[in-house]
C-alpha cells in the first residue's frame, strides 16, 4: 500500500508543479518545487527501511537468466507524467490518481518506483532454473546469472523481492 503510494505520488508532484503551486511565498518558485519532489523521495527512502519487517527469502544461485530492468519503468512513468500534465483541475487529479493507485496496487508488479534509482537501487528480472520469473530490487550490480546470490531477500509480494544488503565491492561500476 505504502509502496504503491510512493510509486504514484510523483503524479501529484508533477501536477503541483504544472499548476505553479507555491508553499513559500517569499522564496522563488523552485524552492517549493524542490520541497514537493523531496516528499516522495524521502517517503521512498523510509519505505526501504520498512522492508526489513517483511518476510525473508533467499536465492541460492540456481538462476538461469538475468535481465536488467532499470529502464523498464520508463514507458509507464512517462505515461504518468503526461497524464499529470494534462489533468486540468484538482477534482480530475483526485479521480485519475485513485484509478491509477488502484490499478498499480492490484497489478502488484509495478511496485517498483523510479525513485528507488535515487536510492541507488537497481532493477532486475531473474528467471530461476524452474522458469519462474521474479522481479528483484537490489543495490548490487549484477552482470551474469551466477552473480545472483542473495541470503537476505525481503518479499514485497509473490513476484517482487528486495535486497537491502550493501554493495561494497560492486558499487563503483554502478
Amino acid at each position: 500500500m505504502f509502496l504503491t503510494l510512493n510509486a504514484t505520488s510523483l503524479l501529484i508532484v508533477i501536477f503541483l508543479i504544472k499548476q505553479h503551486c507555491i508553499i513559500i511565498n517569499k522564496a522563488p518558485n523552485w524552492v517549493s518545487y524542490l520541497i514537493f519532489i523531496s516528499f516522495p523521495v524521502l517517503m521512498t527512502g523510509s519505505s526501504l527501511l520498512c522492508t526489513r519487517f517483511l518476510s525473508t527469502d533467499s536465492i541460492e544461485g540456481n538462476v538461469k537468466d538475468l535481465e536488467h530492468a532499470n529502464n523498464a519503468y520508463l514507458p509507464s512513468y512517462l505515461g504518468y507524467f503526461f497524464v499529470a500534465l494534462s489533468v486540468p483541475d484538482v477534482e480530475t487529479l483526485v479521480f485519475v490518481f485513485l484509478i491509477l493507485f488502484v490499478f498499480t496496487y492490484f497489478s502488484q508488479t509495478i511496485y517498483f518506483n523510479p525513485l528507488f534509482l535515487l536510492w541507488k537501487r537497481h532493477f532486475y528480472y531473474v528467471t530461476t532454473e524452474n522458469n519462474i520469473k521474479i522481479f528483484l530490487i537490489t543495490r548490487k550490480v549484477l552482470r551474469k546469472p551466477s552473480d545472483v546470490h542473495f541470503e537476505n531477500l525481503k518479499r514485497i509480494n509473490n513476484y517482487t523481492f528486495i535486497d537491502n544488503g550493501g554493495a561494497k565491492s560492486e558499487s563503483s561500476d554502478g
Partner: protein, 279 residues
Amino acid sequence: MNHLMAKIRKRGNDNKYRKITSDDNFYKLPEDLDNPIEYLPDHNLDEDSWFVISEFSKKPYCLDILKNNFESVEYLQLEKLEIDKIDFIFSYQDKNEYYFQRVLSSHIVSKKLLYIGDAFEFKENTKFIVINDIPDAIYLKDQDKLYFKKLTSITSIFKGIEELYKEATEEETREFLEQSFICLDQGFSSEKVKKSNRKRIALAMDTMKNFNSDEKKKIFDYIKDYCPNLERKKGAFVVKSDEDLKSILYGIDQRYYTTPVKNEKRIANSIIPINESFK
C-alpha cells in the same frame, strides 16, 4: 537460509507448494541416522533406528521438488485461508536437508492461548501447527537417501510409496490358503486374515516361489519340529485361526531357531539379513 514450506490440497495443476516462513531451524538432524536399515516391510524397527531408501531421487514416488534445486522465491506465500488445506509441511535446511512432517487435522490446533513469556499475552482463537520433535521423514540430498521410521505416516507425502508396503490382496490371500499344505478348519477363511498376516503372506508367497520341492519339504518338516501344537490332516497343516496361520508364515520365513547354548527354541520377532545391516 532455511525455509518452511507447505504443500496444500488443491485441485488442478497449479503449484501446490507454499512458503510459510524462513530463517528458523525447525528440525535438528537426529544423531541416530547412522546405521539405518534398508526398508524391509517385515522388520520391527528399534526405537533409535531409521529405515532408509537409497537413490531416492530415482524412485517413481520421489517428489519433483526434491529432484530440482530449491529456491524459495519460486513459491507463493501461504495465505491464512489455506492453513486448513495443508497436506504436509517440510523444512529446507542447510541446502541439503529436507524434513517432512505430515499435517493431520490434529496437528492444527485452534485454541485460546495464554502465551507465557516476558509478558503474558492472551490470544483468542489462535491457530497453530504443532511441529513434532522428530520429523516423519528426512531427505538428505547429498546422499540421495530418504530416512523414515514408519512407512504408513509418509504414504500421504510420497504418493505411491505404499508399493513397498506389500500386503496380499484378498485374492492372493485366498490363493495362498488354497494351497495343498494348508487345510482350513472351523470356518476360517481368507476374510478373517488380519492385516499383519496379509503382509506376511505377501512376503511368504515371494519366498515360496524360490523354493524347489525338496526345499519345501524341508520347510514343512521344520515347521513340524518347531510347532508341535499345529494339527495336521493328511500331511497338511490345519489352520483354525490367524495364530495358526502366523506359525506357518513364520516357518516359511524361517524365523524359528534354537540357541546354541542351552538349546532354547525361539522365534525371531524381526529379522535383518546380516550382510545387509553391516554394509
